[in-house]
Symmetry: C2
Subunit: 141 residues, 2 copies
């Protein structure tokens, strides 16, 4: 088995393209954002601005943690908070031209990695599922 | 590279053992369960009974979806619902003696897989992170 064949392949071929990626806008409030997460069924999604520039990730654990009071989860606080306040800005990013080798390393600690072009415009996401499927095919040859 | 070396290795070596796995009891209500999910920061955890027998998985999306009303998320309904009503019972299970080959196939569609012994007692979980880390080491040799 020649591992460089798979490690040097471009992530471009494994991406979920931006048009199929659920996301929220940086200006939304948390009540709207939690509805998006609940209806799409995803536990974390990218945060974009109107120009499709990537700003961070919003996860359900982070949203719920932000309204965790001493006695209970204080859901009435959701409409008072913004995505901007709760999103995770410290996220790895891949360029669309990068290799699977780099994607695999990042996916050890992240369920998915956002991909952007040189202008910082959001192109899509690379998921653990896509890479595990690829590795499984490769390892069975 | 000899892929059978990795595919035939036992999942036992890659498990997060039961004592380190956050879980809820089948008899808990959803308000308690959502607090456990929020405090541990996990998006899905196993559902056990007092004998440590595995019954299903509880995820934050499933909890929130169960209280999604026409206008808003109806958080006051959480104390009226039970884990039993909302958990996912249709889950894959691995025996502790099974091989990584089988684990890898299941992890394509599941972020983690519960592992049990022959008595159906919960032993731990096999996660995508553990397998991706292993595959990354192997592929770099
Ligand atoms: N509607 C659906 N249909 C089929 N399978 C589903 C599904 N929703 C979730 N899953 C399964 O559950 C895994 C974890 O989903 P989660 O939402 O926690 O975590 C997801 C989510 O945070 C994000 N993600 C995936 N697809 C997305 C999309 N189209 N839009 C936005 N975010 C997405 O990437 C993470 C990893 O995704 P990955 O596919 O590796 O892993 C997914 C997939 O195997
Ligand atoms: N406290 C923490 N410290 C460090 N990294 C963390 C973390 N919480 C989450 N992560 C990272 O985020 C990934 C997704 O976590 P999630 O809770 O959605 O999805 C988790 C969760 O549903 C479950 N899980 C993992 N460890 C668990 C544990 N100790 N107890 C209960 N469930 C666990 O297995 C899924 C996949 O876990 P995996 O490790 O592959 O992938 C984890 C890990 O890479």
């Amino acid at each position: 088995l020649d591992s460089s064949e798979i490690l040097d392949s471009e992530i471009r071929g494994l991406l979920i393209p931006s048009e199929r990626v659920a996301h929220v806008q940086i200006s939304n409030n948390l009540e709207h954002a939690l509805l998006v997460l609940t209806k799409t069924g995803y536990t974390a999604i990218p945060v974009l601005d109107p120009q499709y520039k990537l700003h961070g990730l919003l996860s359900t654990p982070a949203v719920l943690d932000s309204i965790l009071g001493l006695q209970r989860i204080e859901f009435e606080q959701l409409e008072n908070k913004k995505v901007l306040e709760v999103m995770n800005k410290e996220i790895p990013r891949l360029q669309i031209t990068e290799k699977l080798k780099r994607g695999l390393e990042l996916l050890i600690d992240h369920p998915f990695v956002c991909v952007e072009n040189e202008e910082g415009i959001f192109e899509g996401i690379l998921t653990r599922r896509a890479v595990l499927k690829k590795l499984n095919q490769y390892i069975h040859q």
